[in-house]
């Protein structure tokens, strides 16, 4: 178990090094940032000065080592556009995105799992059919259309919810949160539904398919034959056996929630990382772009590590060290 974790950590280091190399390469290949920063009238001397200040005159291997060293110390360089440290920009935007993603993921799981179990158990009830029809909409409508529809219905027509922005934010010093005020929740609700809908339908359909599979197995029949209560058979014995694929998909999807949040954040003008990266791309703000890349890669690696560990908790057959004792 410990060996496995160490092995995974080493893999993670390799992945992070490769990603940082790619993000570093951005600096070399995507044009000359100096042109974007200084005006057309700047003299050659001014350009050289700026180049030196930003460390762009060193040979690239040295630059890469500096780059890695800085990243490890949490320094991502200066934004070309805003001239302030990228880590401050990210620290400013990260809470908004993380809260959005967290609420969406929670929503998708809290609704998707029970709906999946229900539709798996009651295949022919009208409610199951309703769920499946809705899920078809959730899967086939693009995120931005759902967002715009929600804005139209709840923001413009009914005027229940704010149509854009992140209101009611409380600053905790190291983190800004919208969880503490009603206004915060009101502006969080539509973006998170928009982001959650696709994941919710995916999880629901996955659980349903897995439930149908598991309910046919011998151990479920035997559990019924022992007279166990339906609740125990369905939610203990069956559901736990559907969890391994669900954990895998949920892990991957939290990653893609971060990615999809670009669209949702644009539609709702949500001041998160997605909006930041979009503006950075428009301005070819390479330090922001490369830092975003490194950060997203880091989150992916982290999520995958957690997923691998969850497998061990769920499935005892994977705990290799215990296998050797069972050679009876």
């Amino acid at each position: 178990m410990l060996a496995f974790i160490i092995q995974r950590l080493l893999q993670a280091v390799v992945v992070m090094l490769s990603v940082s190399f790619v993000s570093f390469a951005l600096f070399q290949f995507v044009g000359d940032p100096i042109n974007n920063m200084v005006g057309q009238d700047a003299t050659e001397a001014q350009r050289e000065l700026l180049r030196e200040r930003l460390g762009l005159n060193e040979p690239w291997p040295l630059q890469f080592i500096h780059y890695i060293g800085n990243i490890i110390q949490g320094e991502f360089g200066l934004s070309y556009r805003l001239g302030i440290p990228v880590e401050d920009l990210i620290a400013d935007r990260l809470p908004a995105t993380m809260e959005l993603v967290l609420v969406s993921a929670f929503m998708a799981l809290a609704l998707g799992v029970p709906m999946g179990v229900y539709t798996g158990l009651n295949r022919n009830s009208w409610l199951s059919r309703l769920f499946l029809t809705i899920s078809l909409i959730g899967i086939s409508l693009p995120t931005f259309v759902i967002g715009i529809l929600l804005i139209l219905i709840f923001g413009v027509w009914l005027q229940w919810l704010p149509t854009f922005g992140r209101a009611g934010v409380v600053d905790l010093g190291w983190w800004t949160t919208s969880f503490l005020t009603l206004d915060g929740w009101r502006s969080l609700i539509m973006p998170s539904i928009t982001l959650a809908l696709f994941q919710l339908t995916l999880i629901m359909r996955l659980i349903r398919a897995e439930m149908l599979e598991v309910l046919r197995t011998d151990y479920i029949k035997f559990a019924r034959a022992r007279g166990l209560r339906n609740r125990a058979v369905h939610f203990r014995h069956a559901l736990k056996n559907t969890l391994v694929p669900v954990i895998t998909i949920t892990g991957l999807q939290i990653g893609s929630l971060l990615a999809f949040s670009i669209i949702t954040e644009t539609v709702f003008q949500w001041p998160g990382m997605g909006l930041l990266i979009l503006q950075a791309i428009q301005f070819v703000d390479i330090p922001v772009m490369s830092s975003y890349l490194v950060l997203i890669a880091f989150l992916f690696v982290l999520i995958n590590l957690v997923v691998d560990l969850l497998y061990f908790i769920v499935d005892p057959r994977l705990r290799l060290d215990s296998l050797s004792r069972g050679a009876h």
Binding site: T217, D218, Y219, K221, F222, A223, R224, A225, R226, G227, L228, R229, N230, A232, R236, H237, K240, N241, V314, D315, P316, R317, S322, L323, R325, G326, H328
Partner: protein
């Protein structure tokens, strides 16, 4: 044919199981009647698809849709159990009637410790606290011959061998002290050397606890060794039922004779085993009259037109026109 209800633990009367399909209704168990006395071992034999397992599933209320009981009655200790509500039949499962399935490798939930599954079952059927349930679970593991049960109880199914898992399955099926166990091919998936151990374990436990057994198998050797009485099924129908010794030594129905003839015996001088020509018909193609008539060496016109009912011959009951004598034949088809 019906014996007084008091002495019978289980009575199955004219049981019919069918599967409605788009191309018509398939009758998988057709007008089957038998009874099991308390503590008795009834062997049920027949080829795959003869309806043995479905009869077992119907008794315990675990037919998989669209399969359904479409006729007849099942009575446990005189009380009808075939028309109970879900919750009532659930309380009978495990507590009154236990079941053991064929494949021990897939009968246990791989994600739960053996002990958790035992304790859960014990607590479902009796009001036990965690500690005494655990103690009982360890006792059960010891009783089914699992070495060092206090260690094994905290292990997962994949840490047990096939034979050991079947012992655990038996412990699970017996732990709520049911009066009847339906054992559906309990040894088919096991090594031959383990089969005998499992059968003798099942036999010993049921004798000690006074549990009756409905032993579903296609292994006549197991029947000969274990069963008090034997029922022979063919194409969803009961063709012969009687005391095991009598049926084995003095089979009446041509199909039973064929089954007996296809068992190899040591010291046999014949070169080849006898076999029954042809194969059992599919459910959609069961012939008119006696279902066995296309394969029967003694077939007559009557067999092709009219279906024989069970009737007493010597001390067994046989459904065959060859033995029609004193009893007035029924002309039902």
């Amino acid at each position: 044919m019906t014996t007084p209800a008091e002495s019978n633990l289980l009575e199955v009367q004219n049981l019919r199981v069918d599967f409605p399909t788009r191309r018509g209704t398939l009758i998988a168990v057709d007008d089957v009647s038998f009874e099991i006395k308390a503590g008795e071992v009834l062997g049920v034999v027949g080829e795959s698809g003869a309806g043995k397992s479905l009869t077992g599933a119907a008794i315990i209320g675990l037919l998989e849709p669209p399969g359904r009981i479409s006729g007849g009655e099942v009575r446990l200790a005189g009380k009808r159990i075939d028309n109970l509500a879900q919750e009532q039949i659930r309380q009978i499962r495990g507590r009154e009637i236990g079941m053991v399935f064929q494949d021990p490798l897939t009968s246990l939930n791989p994600l739960f410790r053996v002990g958790e599954q035992l304790i859960e079952t014990l607590q479902t059927h009796a009001d036990l606290d965690e500690k005494s349930a655990r103690k009982q679970a360890i006792d059960w593991l010891a009783e089914v011959g699992i070495p060092s049960p206090e260690v094994r109880i905290d292990q997962y199914p994949h840490q047990f061998s096939g034979g050991m898992r079947q012992r655990v399955v038996i412990a699970l099926a017996l732990c709520a002290n049911p009066k009847l166990i339906i054992a559906d091919e309990p040894t088919t998936a096991l090594d031959v050397s383990i089969q005998a151990q499992i059968i003798s374990l099942l036999k010993r436990l049921c004798r000690e606890h006074g549990t009756a057994v409905m032993l579903i198998t296609h292994d006549m050797g197991v029947i000969a060794e274990t069963a008090d009485r034997v029922a022979v099924m063919y194409a969803g129908r009961l063709v012969e039922i009687g005391e095991a010794r009598k049926v084995i030594q003095n089979a009446k129905h041509p199909y039973t004779l064929g089954l007996m003839g296809s068992i190899p015996t040591i010291g046999d001088t014949e070169e080849e085993l006898r076999q029954i020509q042809g194969s059992m018909p599919r459910l959609a193609e069961i012939p008119e009259g006696c279902a066995f008539n296309p394969r029967c060496p003694n077939v007559s016109d009557r067999c092709r037109k009219h279906r024989p009912e069970l009737q007493s011959v010597d001390e067994s009951s046989v459904a065959c026109w060859l033995f029609e004598d004193a009893a007035v034949p029924s002309e039902l088809s």
